[in-house]
Structures are given as C-alpha cells and as structure tokens.
Symmetry: C2
Subunit: 285 residues, 2 copies
C-alpha cells in the first residue's frame, strides 16, 4: 500500500503516523514545498521517504493536507496525476470552495471531501502525534460524487484509525463549522490581543493569569498561514458568527453598564446548559 501525504504538518503527519501504525507494510511518501519540513518528517519517522507528483499514478491514497488556499490549486493537479484506483482526500476546514474547484474535474470520482475534526494549536511535522483521530468525527461531503469502491476504501481507512463518520452537504458544513470552530479561533486571537496590548509594559501581570485565561487564549497560538485562507474562503459565515458574537458581548456590556445584575445572572445560568453539550465532546475525545 502506497500512501502519499502532500503537506506534512499536524493533520497530514498525524494521519500517516496512525495509518503506518495500523498498516505496518504501508509505504508513506511525503511531498512538501518546504524542504526543511520534508527532511524533518523523515528524521522524525513521520514519512518513509520523499515522493513526487510523477509517482502519484501508483498511489493508493493521497492525503492533501495543505492550507485551504493552496488546496485550491494543488488538488486539481493531484487529480490530474493520480491513477484510476487512487483515492484522494483533502482535510481542510472549508468544504464548499474545495468541492467547487474539483466539481468538473474528469477524475472527480477519485476524490472524497473530508474534514476530520481534530487538531491542536501546533503546526509543522513536529506537531504530528499518534492517536489524534481516535474517537473523533470525520465529516464527509458529497459522498455520492465519489466512486463507490473508492468510498469504501476511504471509509475503511478512516474507521481503522478510530474516526466516526458523519455526512453533510458542503454548505451546511461551512455554515456550522464557522460557529463551532472558526469563531473560537477569532475569539481567542482577539482576547490575546486585548490583554497583550493592555499589558505590554507589565509582563509581571501574566503571573496573575491562570488556567482559565490559558484555556480561552490557547487557540491564539494557531498558524496565521493556515487560518487566514480559512477565514477568506468562509467569509460569509464567519462574518455572520462574528457579528452575532459582538452583538451578544455588546448586550452583556450594556447590562453591566446598567447594573442589571439579575439579567447577567440569568444570561450566565442559561448558558450553563452548555455543560451537557461539552460533556458530549469530552466523551468523544
């Protein structure tokens, strides 16, 4: 079995680590524009060797795990190069633009659109970790556009590394993921900014920061190269979530300015229901 990973970072790297763990005979070949990352991935044992686009003809699986703007140009080239039995999948955080760019490709049926909901705030080959996908959700879009036998091949691979499968259309995916993922990243980045700008001359102040602060700003460590194109491609829904968030914060601000503490209490109490929802997420981990 030959598995190619294009873009060897957190997601692609972790995925091939698990595939190799599950299929020890698989050969893992890596392609990356960044020569340093390629060498690092070999040194860390994330991939077996460097591959090239010319070899993709012989690939069983091709994982495209590059920033979503790069995916728009790389993906059609990958499909141009692959063989009839190759299944290609992309793992980015937007699905509509990705599905659109390959919609009329002659090898569309060799492609399956996925979004494994897993990750950390780190990036690059050294961020690759084993077991990242265990119990996590993989959202698959437009499954009916993938050749039946290749669907089966891909699903077997995903479930073999512990993923649960959910099907969704790309527009619904992009809309909802804006709420449960993209907005969290903006809230973290801007929280980090608010505190850093205010406290820039007083580094000692961070001695006062505890685990609560850390938890809410953790995502502010995320890669701008990965996230800028996500916000660009999902602009419409990200703006919608962000405006909703700003409106809620502004309303909270007004309640506080007006000393309406009963309403503040009720607001918080009603959001407390999120405990059950978060328990669900914790179980999935």
């Amino acid at each position: 079995m030959k598995v190619y990973v294009i873009g060897i970072g957190l997601i692609g790297g972790s995925m091939v680590l698990d595939i190799k763990g599950r299929y020890p005979d698989a050969t893992i070949l890596g392609i990356d524009n960044n020569e340093k990352h390629l060498q690092e991935a070999i040194d860390l044992g994330v991939i077996d060797e460097a591959g090239s686009f010319e070899d993709l003809q012989k690939a069983d699986f091709v994982i495209v795990s590059v920033p979503v703007d790069v995916a728009l140009t790389v993906l059609p080239k990958v499909l141009d190069a692959v063989g009839d039995k190759t299944i290609v999948f992309e793992v980015g955080s937007t699905k509509k633009p990705i599905c659109d760019v390959v919609a009329n490709h002659p090898k569309r049926r060799n492609f399956i659109a996925t979004h494994p909901i897993a990750g950390t705030e780190f990036s690059g080959p050294s961020a690759a970790i084993r077991g990242l996908f265990q119990g996590k959700t993989n959202i698959i879009c437009e499954v009916e556009k993938t050749a039946f036998k290749l669907q089966e091949k891909a699903l077997n691979l995903f479930t073999s590394i512990g993923m649960r499968i959910r099907y969704m259309d790309p527009v619904s995916h992009d809309k909802h993921i804006a709420y449960v993922s993209h907005l969290s990243h903006i809230s973290s980045f801007m929280l980090g900014k608010t505190v850093m700008v205010k406290e820039k001359d007083e580094q000692d102040i961070f001695d006062m920061a505890g685990s609560g602060f850390e938890s809410t700003v953790r995502l502010a460590k995320s890669s701008p190269a990965m996230w800028t194109p996500i916000f660009k491609q999902n602009k419409e829904y990200v703006l919608e979530t962000l405006e909703g968030y700003i409106a809620n914060l502004t309303q909270f601000r007004d309640l506080l300015a007006d000393d309406n503490y009963n309403a503040i209490f009720e607001e918080m109490e009603s959001v407390n229901k999120i405990r059950e929802i978060l328990n669900g997420i914790t179980i999935k981990k």
Copy 2:
C-alpha cells in the same frame, strides 16, 4: 491547630484538603449556609466537622471562601468573632471592595487579603481537589495592614501548600485581573450563547465541535452565583476590558468585510507571541 472554612466549595474545600494533607493533626471545621453542602463536605472528608461562629474565638485560621458579595457582610462578622491570635483570610476574585469593608475594623490586623489564582469551572464541595494550589500564585494585598506575626503564620501556610506569593495593591489587582481572568469568563459565556442560540434546533451540530471549541467555552460552565457579584464589584475595570475586546473584534470584522487578508494575517501573527506567555503559565501549573 484549628482551621475554619466558611463556604465549602472549590477553593475553600481544596485549600483545607491540602492543609489537612500537610498538617494531619489539624482539625478542619466547616461553616456553610447550605446544609446539604455541609453534610456533603463531611461525607467526602473535606472537613472533619461542622463549626459555628461562636467557636471562632479559638480558631488558628479562618478561610472565608464565599461569593464576593457575601464576603462583604460575612467578613466583618468573622472578625468580630475571632480571637487575638486568629488569622482570617478571604480568597475572592476582587480585592478593593473586600479591603475597603474591613479597613476600619478594630481587628483589621487579624485579616490578610489574598487571591489564590487557581480553580476549575466546577463548584460546591465535590469540586474540591487535592494539589490545586501547587505552583500557583497567591496575590496578597495590603500586607502591611496585617499584624507581623500573623502575616508570617499565613505565609507559612500558603507556601506549605505550594503557593508562590506576589504582593500587589488592591486597585492594581482588580484592574489587571479583569484582563487576565474576568474577561475570559465573559468571552466564554458569550461564545457559548452565540453558538447555542444559533444551533438550538440542531443538536447534531455539536458533533462538529472539537477540542478547540471546548477549550474556549469551558469557563461558560462557571457558577453565576459566584461570577455575578465579581462583575458587579469590578464593574469599572470589567467594562474597560470588555470594551477593548469588542473594539478588537469589530476591527477584525471590518478587516474581513474589507477582504484585507494581509492585515488579518499580521494581526494573528502578532498575537502568536502569546505562545511564550502561555508557556510561562503552563510551567506554573
């Protein structure tokens, strides 16, 4: 050694668990308006027995760990009741109103104002855990107003359970803690609200939520009874942080609406510096 804890929840409960671990001969007495919590604390072994205000005369330590609005009325009564050698401390998240309410109390020198920066999103006696304060910061305000011998007694206790001590005036404490703690709670609560309101009819959507979402909304599980009076007492600084946060989010929204992706990239890159700050926090844990 007799240690009284008034309000047996996450902070007070965890503190007496560690004190008992460090001083096995200590008797831990609990006082709580909530009879169920009192019994639960005994059953869980968090306290040895129930105490009463009349006994405080004989206390070595009194920990006041109640919501900060309750502290304003309880603290003077506690000081009225304690003996000359008793040291009383309060552990809430605001310091100026607390210091003010006891400023002219005849037993002011029996009081030390503290804020142990530690906690989880849970509350009540069952939330009490061992080792919560290990390596954490305890901010002490107006230390000079506490009797020298009692300062020493309190500091020995705090360091014996692993805390680092920092001194700060109450106004600076309240101002900075608004940025590194209070704002994080509002950002979490409003993020939770934004997603729940939007997705209320689509519980399946939370299948799409990953560890990033969980991390940013974790604090939305926090107790409204504890947090409403904190926001009330620290209204001025909380409003300042919240307005700064809303302004930063609005600016980000405008950059996105204007397709200014270079600026968005730069914003995120500049906030990435928070990595080093967060590393500092992680080490403290």
